[in-house]
Point group: C2
């Protein structure tokens, strides 16, 4: 017996269940917890925020596939079985994230919020507009998503630089790495785009101390922050302080330490904040499921799994 377990919390599992069955009708698919029986049958688990300890009950597990982009929740399960954990890397998801980053960088660059406020009072007034090649965008995190965003921004003419844990080379992009590289990276950034994974080394990195190192755009205004990565990278209260003191001129946040963002959060109504409901890079379930099934087919004939998480670095 070789069965696939689907364990999905926080999302509606029905659509995923249907997709697995439709794309692989010959396989034994079991939706947890309704169809949980004989844990020893389970060889693969496809999960989103499974309860901690649950995976450990499946002693014949060969691999765990994450259904969403982050694996931080899985990795904090102290009973996590010692099998490969596979991240989602999906061209479709990368394109969606790139769209989100480009949209919000351009919104700031082109002062669209200002023009919208002028429209409300029927004011026809043009403001000086910087050339993209004079504007520095700093991308934190240069994995699949950061890399794609950096390239897209650079093609639009922005001066792009990047920061990552280990050294990365990207044509046309000045890169920095490690703790030593963080300071010079931040000093250059007028628009900071965060696409880091959530790891013990990155949690809380978007804090007041970080914001105060960003490039202050002359007498004009502070820097802009775009976080489309993980909510626990940011300190909400520090973002408010930085906005109110002028260190930040605006923030676009797709993720939050607590989601959905509580109605009591001052971020909802802050005039310099754009809140989106963790929709920057919706995965296309069909594309994720078909990638996972393809990996399982290949794995069963001896091909190593792609995108296996390094547990020590955390992604």
């Amino acid at each position: 017996m070789s069965a696939i377990l689907l364990a999905i919390m926080g999302w509606d599992p029905k659509n995923w269940d249907q997709l697995f069955r439709a794309l692989s009708p010959q396989r034994d698919i079991r939706l947890w917890p309704e169809q949980a029986r004989n844990p020893a049958d389970i060889t693969y688990a496809c999960v989103w925020k499974p309860p901690h300890g649950m995976l450990a009950e499946h002693r014949n597990l060969k691999a765990v596939f994450s259904l969403g982009a982050g694996v931080d929740d899985i990795l904090t399960d102290i009973e996590l079985p010692n099998v490969p954990i596979v991240r989602v890397v999906d061209a479709d998801l990368t394109m969606r994230m790139t769209e989100y980053v480009v949209l919000h960088v351009l919104k700031y660059h082109r002062q669209q919020r200002l023009y919208e406020s002028q429209q409300r009072v029927r004011m026809w007034h043009e403001h000086e507009q910087a050339v993209a090649s004079d504007v520095s965008v700093g991308v934190m995190g240069l994995g699949e998503l950061g890399y794609a965003s950096a390239i897209a921004l650079q093609r639009l003419g922005f001066r792009v630089h990047g920061w990552s844990r280990t050294q990365k080379i990207i044509p046309g992009v000045e890169t920095f790495y490690g703790a030593v590289g963080l300071e010079p990276f931040l000093r250059r950034a007028e628009i900071l785009v965060c696409l880091l994974p959530s790891t013990p080394g990155t949690r809380g990195i978007l804090n007041l101390d970080t914001f105060r190192r960003l490039k202050f755009n002359g007498a004009m205004h502070g820097a802009y922050l775009i976080n489309a990565a993980r909510g626990d990278l940011q300190v909400d209260a520090d973002i408010i302080v930085a906005l109110d003191e002028g260190t930040l001129a605006g923030a676009t946040l797709d993720v939050f330490p607590v989601e959905p963002l509580p109605v009591t959060s001052p971020l909802w109504t802050h005039p310099k904040v754009t809140v989106t409901p963790h929709n920057a890079a919706q995965s296309s379930p069909r594309s994720i499921v078909s990638n996972i099934l393809r990996q399982i087919d290949r794995f069963e004939v001896g091909v190593p799994l792609d995108h296996v998480v390094d547990r020590r670095r955390g992604y």
Copy 2:
């Protein structure tokens, strides 16, 4: 004597005057009308909306340079001297226009207006998001600006097609041309981007009949219009009708038949309209002036002028 005349209406001429003097201190620069004397001295005129008939008074004129992107106003001067009229083609201007087009296409594609209205009521709710490769963007006008926008959109994953007066080939972009090509082009467009020149053949082309041929996005919504070209291409009243009947789901307008847009225009307050004050592609005056001076230097040693307008086709 060889002098350069600057004749600028509707814009503040001071900055231009200073730029010409700073970048070419050895030349005789005369700002019209204050410094108008001895019209026979003038060999070059650099103009924006000069009064009709005025250029005809300069019988030694060798060339006229437009300071802005459109030449439609110059070409309707029935006394226009028979000398080359030179358009602005500026890499900087092309980049700015591309930014504007990408920003507003992404705003529609990513339903950003809907998410902003949800933020106002603190609503955390994600909507289904189409993949860019399923979304057709139609670019009308495939000159420098249309070409650059089509390529940028295609790189972001959109299905891009284009329409122009004469046949154009763009890698990865399905192109249509002429009167016969208009209908199949419009039928495919879910987001219509207009970057046409204003000519007798294009004026008023953005009308109700055109909008009704656009691709109706299923039961979902009508098409989106982005006009960043010329105001007289569009019929404002038809845009309102198309929005109200649902043929158009939204319109982003940077240009208008009358500018500034009169405060009485219903476009200012229409919930589906984004108005910008003709700022899509601000020219960088410094870059335009230095291009013109370089052209004059080369022309005087016998090199033909670049970007000379074909008066019959109108651009």
